[in-house]
Every structure is written in C-alpha cells, then in structure tokens.
Amino acid sequence: MDMDATVKELVESLSLELRRGTIILSVLSQMKQPKYGYSLVQVLEQKGMSIEAGTLYPLLRRLEKQGLLKSEWQTDSNKPRKYYSLTTLGSDVYGELCTQWNKLVDGMKHLMDGGAQDE
C-alpha cells in the first residue's frame, strides 16, 4: 500500500516534469489561428493537454517577447481581448520543433523497445 503510494507520487512528479517540456510545443501548435488567453486554455483542455492558466498567460507574453508570437487587441465586442498568433519566425521555429519532437519520439521508442529486448 505504502509502496503504491510512493510509486504514484513519484510518477506524478516525474510526469509533470515530462509535460513541462511539451508546454511550448503544445502552445505553438494551436496558434496558427489567432487565439486569446482563455480560448487557448479551453482548446488545450479539450484536447487533453490542459495547462494551468497561471502558467499559460505569462508564457504567451514571453513567447511574444521572443518574437514567436504577435498580438493584437480586438475591441469590437464588449470584452476587449488580446489575440495572439504565430509570426513567420514562430511558424518556422514550430516546424523545426516538430521535426525535433518526432526524432525524440522515434529515439525514445527505439530505446524502450531495445530495453525490452535486452531483458
């Protein structure tokens, strides 16, 4: 019982660390169409990659500072919203990151299968 609890706890914290590395890729993947902060929270949640709002909102601004995203205020509705979308640089970087990600997945698969064969 205790053992199970330890396993669960460790898995939880380690998988959190795994997910942390995927946050930026997750965000960039959804930014071809302009989105405002909360709409991005919802989309990611629907697709099973929920990211906390408190992490996401600051991240959007950081990515904009880095030139990966651009932003625009839309004030036509009664709720003014800041819409973010990919810049050309952002979409180049996203494309390259996707390649990296696929390589990573292949590499990991190889490692995991290989590990099974060794046993």
Binding site: Y36, G37, Y38, E52, A53, G54, Y57, P58, R61, P80
Partner: protein, 337 residues
C-alpha cells in the same frame, strides 16, 4: 454579495499582481489580465465564481514572478558561497570590535561620570551597547550585500561569453594563491579601526595620568567629524578590495589592477585629509603639559620631532597604500598568467 464587491475582488487581484511588475508593461498587462479573468467567468457570475477563478490563477506573487521571469536573488549562486563567507567574517569582526569598544568605553566612562552611580551607568550603557550592536550588525550586513551586488553587476561579468575549454585557468602555483587569512585579517582590522573611528574617536588619544587617567585626543574632533564620511568611504573601499581578493582566491593581473584602482581612489580621498594640519588636536601640546612626565625639557626636546609628527602620520598611511599597490602589482604581474 453585490456586483461591486465581486469586481472589487478582481481589481484587487490585478493590482496585487501588477504592482510587482515594472511600470513599463503594467497597463497593457493589467488590461490583458482583466480580459482573461472575465473570459474565465460565466455570463452571470457569482462571487463564488470569481473566487474560483482567482484561486485557479493562484498566488499573485507567484503569477507576477512568472510574468517577470528574471533572476530573482540579489546575490546569485555563483557568488553565494563567497558572500556567506565574507558576511560571516565581517559580522564577527563588527561584533568583536564593538565588544572591545564597549569594554574600553566602560573602563573610561565611570571616570567621566563620577556623579552617577556606577551601576546605573553600566546598565544604561549595556542597553545602549545592544542597541548599537544590532544596528551595527544590520549596517555591516547591508554594506556587504551592496558590495557583492555591485561586484556582480559591474565588475566580474567575464562569464557572459560562451565558455570554452581554453578559458580554464591554469591550476595556480602555491605562491599565486591568496591565503584566505590575509584578506580576512585585512577585513577584521579595517572593521575594528572603522568602528573605533566612528564610535569613539575621542579615545584615539594619548593617555596621561594626573589625578585620574585622562585622554588627550589626537584628533581635532570638530574637523574630524566633518571629514569622517570621506574616511569611511576609504575604509569601505578597503573592505571591498579585500572581498575581491577573497572572491578571486588567486593573484591575477585583473585583480591587481582593480585593487590598485581602489587604493588610488581611497588615497585621493584620505591623504588630503591626513596631510591637512586641521585634523590634529590643536591643543595637544598644552593638554599634554598636564602630565607629570611632560617637563619643559621634554617639550623642548620634542619640538623638532613635533613639527614633522603630523606629516609622519600621513606618510605612514601613504606608505601603507603604496606598499599594498606595489605588492599587489608585483604579484599580479608575476603570477597573473
């Protein structure tokens, strides 16, 4: 709860986040954060909804830190060890110095205040002592922290380039290493002298025995207090110089040039002060006349020596600085590579 209260809650939250952020980005961020919060609320939201949303966004301090995304500590990890080390030495030196100053003061004080009962004088000065001990330690802490902060900000930014194996410094010969005891000794000595200068300059004196022990101050205290800030800056420069030596840990050309600059600035500050006759007690000779050993013949014998006494004191200080510059430059050039 009515709508105003709900909106007040949001207003307060936004304020609590943005007040921690630089002015520049504040208004845009405020707007955006407000938009985000209202987006997260249902159309007909209750106070409970607002609370839930704010709770989701979390502690304002944490959120602001996410927005800032900057180095947070004043003294970064790279210097933290040396910072703690120097801080320890300085605090110990201040405490020891103040205890010494207190004991000297306690011995001298009852002579002045013969009318008060000895007990009340002592207990009063013990209370005073702890008061000044605490503020002294707090000041020392602040100075060391500021010194390291400045060192980190302006001086040693050599790590900013891409690191390469070629950058590895050669393992220094033993002679190129700076023994920690040297800068520590320097810091302790400077702190103690600085305390003496600031807390009890009247006891920097020649002590004579008439009916009681009497202190004849060396300095003209009025002038002394006027120039004390200059002297203090020179002391602080000296402390920073020693801190640089601790941080470096070995003689390098860069270190020797930097410490030389510190010495030159300190010299420029204090030498005019010490070479100026106004700093010395003008009535020193007459005051000393009260001492039984200060006979007319003695005074006459001292006369030629006396005229150069002032200059000698200043010359000793000049010599100390020149010695420090000389040895530093020699070692920096000799072992710097």
């Amino acid at each position: 709860m009515n709508k105003l209260n709900k909106d007040e809650m949001i207003k307060r939250y936004i304020y609590d986040v943005t007040r921690r952020l630089p002015q520049k980005s504040r208004s845009d961020l405020e707007e955006e954060l407000r938009g985000n919060i209202y987006d997260m609320l249902p159309d007909d939201y209750t106070a409970q909804d607002v609370e839930n949303v704010l709770q989701t966004l979390g502690n304002p301090a944490k959120l602001a830190a996410e927005y800032k995304d900057e180095r947070r500590s004043l003294i970064s990890g790279a210097y933290y060890d040396q910072y703690c080390f120097v801080l320890k030495i300085v605090l110990i030196a201040v405490a020891v110095g103040m205890v010494i100053a207190f004991i000297v003061g306690a011995i001298a004080e009852p002579l002045d205040a013969a009318t008060n009962s000895l007990v009340s004088t002592v207990s009063l000065s013990i209370a005073e002592f702890f008061g000044s001990l605490i503020s002294g330690l707090a000041q020392a802490f602040a100075y060391v922290t500021i010194a390291f902060f400045l060192i980190e900000r302006y001086n040693i930014r050599i790590d900013s380039r891409e690191w390469s194996v070629a950058d590895l410094p050669p393992v220094p010969e033993d002679k190129a290493l700076i023994k920690k005891s040297d800068p520590i000794g320097g810091i302790v000595f400077t702190v103690i002298v600085m305390l003496l200068f600031n807390l009890a300059p009247q006891y920097i004196a020649i002590y004579i025995t008439t009916e009681a022990v009497e202190a004849v101050p060396l300095f003209n205290l009025e002038y002394f207090y006027a120039v004390l800030p200059l002297i203090n800056i020179a002391f602080l420069l000296g402390i920073v110089r020693e801190i640089l030596r601790v941080v470096s840990g070995r003689h390098t050309l860069k270190l020797s040039i930097t410490t030389t600059l510190f010495d030159l600035v300190a010299m420029a500050l204090v030498l005019p002060v010490y070479f100026n006759p106004s700093i010395w007690n003008p009535t020193l000779l007459t005051d000393l006349g009260a001492a039984p050993w200060f006979t007319a013949e003695f005074a006459a014998g001292m006369q030629p020596f006396w005229s150069v006494f002032y200059i000698m004191f200043a010359a000793i200080i000049l010599f100390a600085y020149l010695l420090d510059i000389g040895t530093t430059l020699y070692k920096g050039i000799r072992y710097g590579r």
